[in-house]
């Protein structure tokens, strides 16, 4: 985190911890009413709206994610908590402390198409608004075309793009290039771009920021300017795409899943006892694997793929789902993709099958990603 620690003095930090606890309790109870009361009490006690957004709501929302991953929170609870946080943020934006007039300039904040987690982008939008920007928040999953139309219509100083899922990176790349071609510099943030921002750099964004406060600081410090030379094209960043592996694997996803399922059925005995629902889940998991493999090929980053597999392993382990059939599944997939050198390397790894790869296929005991 490169957050501006100076703006969070110790007493406020201590205060934030207490407020976080209060908000967390309210979210666990699914009590929107209590959540709003906790947050507005903090505002009344002198906490700034920005600190509430970034030192209370943001970390609590992050905790929602980790608690879900650890199976200590259900999907329903997760959605409820997020919805309550959304409403609390909406309430905060009508605080009297918010600047009456936007003086700094205009910023568009949007999530990449296919990205449903709007809360991080929402936090950035509200933070920028508090700092005096005029902000257009376009919300979750904004089709690139709509975003570009918006940029032409409003002519913002910059566009802030958010994405949390690495499988959205290819789409994000197209969006980034399109925004820049329209003369608007792009600030990118969110887990999809890597904790060190390496995918943001790879895809040629003008500014990457690890969190909302750092993003706001960067924009306040120096507005990026994108080159209008007009000669840059998306493919220039990624010469490895010339091998077409990404394109071909993305196009043949249904066939790859079908084939792997059929071969798994023949070679992996426990699968014969699967219920229809379990088969469906297995197919969905295989589709996920292909999606992440495709994204890894797009970025030419094997770690993106192995990271997904180990994360999946953790998710399954937290749900008590034995993960012992990954290796045959990945092996079958590798067999189908033997004509694709990069895919083969990603699937087998430097040390052959299974280095760090956990099983992702659920067993009959139920539970799934």
């Amino acid at each position: 985190m490169t957050a501006d620690h100076a703006s969070v003095p110790a007493p406020a930090g201590a205060q934030a911890a207490g407020v976080r606890e209060g908000l967390w309790g309210a979210l666990q109870a699914g009590d929107e009413y209590a959540a709003a009361a906790v947050v507005f009490a903090a505002i009344d006690a002198g906490m700034s709206a920005e600190d509430v957004l970034l030192d209370v709501i943001a970390p609590v929302q992050a905790k929602v994610g980790t608690e879900w991953a650890a199976n200590r929170m259900t999907v329903a609870q997760e959605h409820t908590a997020t919805a309550i946080n959304e409403r609390v943020i909406a309430g905060l934006s009508h605080q009297p402390g918010a600047p009456a007039e936007a003086t700094l300039g205009r910023i568009t904040v949007a999530c990449v198409d296919g990205e449903w987690h709007a809360l991080p982008a929402r936090l950035l939008a509200e933070t920028l608004r508090l700092r005096g920007w005029r902000v257009d928040f376009l919300g979750a999953q904004v089709p690139t075309l709509h975003l570009i139309e918006h940029l032409h219509t409003t002519g913002p100083d910059a566009v802030a793009l958010s994405s949390s899922i690495p499988t959205r990176l290819p789409t994000a790349h197209a969006t980034i290039t399109a925004c820049q071609a329209a003369g608007v510099p792009v600030l990118a943030g969110g887990a999809a771009f890597g904790s060190d921002g390496r995918f943001a750099r790879l895809l040629g964004v003008d500014v990457w920021a690890p969190d909302a406060r750092a993003a706001a600081d960067r924009l306040a410090h120096e507005m990026p300017r994108t080159s209008l030379a007009g000669t840059h094209q998306a493919v220039d960043d990624l010469p490895h795409l010339a091998d077409q592996e990404y394109t071909l694997i993305t196009q043949s996803r249904p066939q790859l899943v079908k084939q792997t399922m059929a071969e798994l059925e023949a070679t992996y005995p426990p699968m014969r006892a699967y219920t229809d629902a379990q088969r469906q889940h297995t197919a969905e998991d295989m589709a996920h694997i292909v999606d992440f493999l495709a994204s890894a090929l797009y970025t030419d980053d094997r770690e993106l793929f192995t990271g997904f597999l180990s994360w999946t392993g953790e998710i399954l382990a937290a749900r008590g789902v034995p993960a012992d059939s990954l290796t045959p599944a990945l092996g079958l997939l590798a067999g189908q993709l033997s004509d694709f050198p990069r895919a083969t390397r990603f699937l087998s790894g430097p040390h052959g099958h299974g280095d760090g790869l956990e099983a992702v296929i659920p067993s009959p005991s139920g539970g799934r990603v």
Partner: protein, 553 residues
């Protein structure tokens, strides 16, 4: 006549020049290490009459040659001189001088007139810069369809390449003039309350008709607002250039140069003209786009699905995804018409017009307007549907529609619904124990038969329970891991069953997310959803985004 037999292309020079160098067309000057001329040929005598034997190079006014000579004379005898050519002026012509060392240690300078080449090289350089500039200008101007951005690009490029500072002026908008100042690399927008008529020629340039040429004006006549803030130094020359918009007034450009800076040459004016043509074309395209976008946006407002919120203690949430990626609207629609007071029923409508895209969307607008007019009849759904049916049958179009009506009122903590389906998938009810029931209502679609029949069913929602209205785009969405399966009603029911206790908007978001993931990159129909939920808690929504949301618990 003695001829040299040496194969070298470079003539050998003796201290005493023979007949051959004397006959050479290019001037030859030989000087000793101290810079004193010892020999010259006939051509050199004609070019430099003062450079006779004994003259000092430094006294000939050829400093470039004298300096080079001094430098080379200081180097050792073995140093090769062939690559040490220097270039300079002799009178109004340019010469390249190539040195060779004579056997007795003098340096012989062979001078070649390269005036024409130099001029050609300079012209080439200028043209290259201009081509690069015009390419940069075209790229930058073509990139954006935003008028303000176009003006910024115009002002910045003009200030960078054409003048010391520039002001791009848009056609008067309301009171005053939109200005974009460019000075150095700095661009600033301003709106001044000023009359363009005070600047000679500006008003005509801004009108775009009749066509006017670029016009020089007296810098003294320039008002203060027409000089970019921060532009230092007196203004030497000013030219007003119209930006040709071809039917659309695109604006004008004021170019300013400092007194010390040379005025515009004829070639530069032509160049400014070329730039103005590009900027004008880009600006008129941007203005046309802005005009179209504003018309579209105005017309679209009526057709976009409304933002839903809590009404009279009942939670409403809606979600919409049109079929085409390009579209914002389509043939699905929903509306919520709040009851006049909490005791009155609120009417929620969700429907699907046959067809997709704009044509279907226009019809949804008509149906929504008709239903709004029929609100007083909402106590009898079947009658309302028949009136709508009549209106659709009498209209010119031949499309039909299916829809669901839900009249909703909250009594204590229970939400009472009257649901009627007209040829539409029946609403699903999610009970607090996770059971999902299909509302038992069915009826005929509207807009086809002379009369409609539909059954209305009464349903009660306990706190935390929810009723989902949806269009077939959801359940008929094709995709999944194998790419060809339908999302289906069972999957929708399973998802809903997992959603017990979720706020209405979270339920909508979850279904939309799962359906979108199911579809992936595939094609799909319009999809619309409305959730009607009985709040779990007794109190109203704590924060609805409009009020401060302050409560004393």
């Amino acid at each position: 006549m003695k001829t040299s037999k040496r194969p070298s292309s470079r003539p050998r020079v003796d201290t005493r020049l023979g007949a051959l160098p004397d006959a050479a067309p290019c001037p030859l000057l030989v000087a000793d290490p101290a810079g004193v001329v010892v020999e010259r040929n006939a051509a050199a005598s004609r070019l430099l009459p003062g450079a006779g034997t004994g003259a000092r190079l430094h006294e000939l006014g050829l400093e470039w040659l004298a300096d080079a000579h001094e430098r080379l004379a200081g180097t050792g005898h073995s140093a090769r001189l062939e690559s040490e050519a220097v270039t300079g002026q002799v009178g109004d012509r340019s010469f390249e001088a190539r040195p060779t060392r004579t056997e007795d240690g003098h340096i012989a300078w062979w001078l070649a007139d390269n005036t024409g080449r130099r001029a050609a090289e300079e012209a080439l350089q200028v043209e290259r810069e201009r081509t690069a500039f015009l390419a940069e200008a075209s790229n930058a101007l073509l990139a954006t369809l935003n008028v303000d951005r176009c003006m910024e690009v115009t002002a910045r490029l003009a200030a960078k390449y054409l003048a010391d500072a520039a002001v791009a002026i848009g056609p008067p908008a309301g009171r005053g003039l939109p200005l974009t100042y460019g000075s150095g690399d700095h661009v600033e927008r301003a709106h001044v309350d000023a009359d363009p008529a005070v600047v000679p020629g500006l008003e005509e340039a801004l009108q775009g008709f009749p066509p006017v040429a670029s016009q020089w004006i007296d810098p003294a006549s320039l008002p203060e607002w027409a000089v970019p803030p921060g532009f230092d130094g007196p203004t030497g020359s000013v030219v007003i250039t119209p930006l040709p918009g071809h039917g659309i007034a695109a604006g004008a450009l004021i170019l300013l140069r400092r007194s010390s800076h040379s005025a515009f040459s004829e070639r530069e004016e032509v160049f400014a003209h070329l730039f103005a043509a590009r900027a004008g074309a880009a600006l008129s395209a941007a203005r046309m786009y802005a005009h179209q976008a504003s018309i579209t946006s105005t017309l679209m407002q009526e057709l976009l699905p409304p933002q839903l919120e809590q009404v009279h203690g009942v939670d409403f949430a809606g979600g919409y995804r049109p079929s085409g990626q390009r579209e914002r609207i389509g043939g699905d629609f929903y509306d919520v018409h709040p009851g006049s007071d909490p005791g009155q029923e609120t009417l929620a409508v969700l429907g699907d017009v046959c067809g997709k895209g704009l044509d279907a969307a226009v019809l949804t607008g008509k149906i929504r307007n008709t239903l709004q007019a029929l609100l007083p009849m909402a106590d009898d759904h079947e009658r309302m549907l028949n009136l709508l049916n009549g209106a659709l049958l009498n209209a010119e179009h031949t499309r039909f529609a299916t829809l669901v009506l839900a009249s909703v009122v909250r009594r204590e903590r229970t939400v009472r619904l009257r649901l009627t389906s007209a040829g539409h998938p029946a609403p699903l009810i999610v009970r607090s124990d996770g059971r999902v029931e299909e509302a038992e209502t069915q009826g005929t679609l509207v807009g086809v038969l002379p009369e409609c029949h539909a059954d209305t069913v009464a349903v009660e929602l306990a706190p935390g329970e929810l009723c989902l209205l949806f269009t077939d785009g959801i359940i008929e969405a094709k995709g999944g891991p194998l790419g060809d399966a339908m999302f289906g009603e069972q999957r929708l029911a399973d998802v809903l069953s997992d959603c017990v206790g979720l706020p209405a908007e979270a339920v909508i978001e979850r279904i939309q997310m799962l359906a979108a993931q199911w579809i992936g990159q595939g094609r799909h129909d319009d999809m619309a959803l409305v959730a009607i939920a009985a709040p779990r808690h007794a109190h109203l929504s704590a924060v609805d985004g409009h009020t401060r949301g302050r409560y004393t618990a």
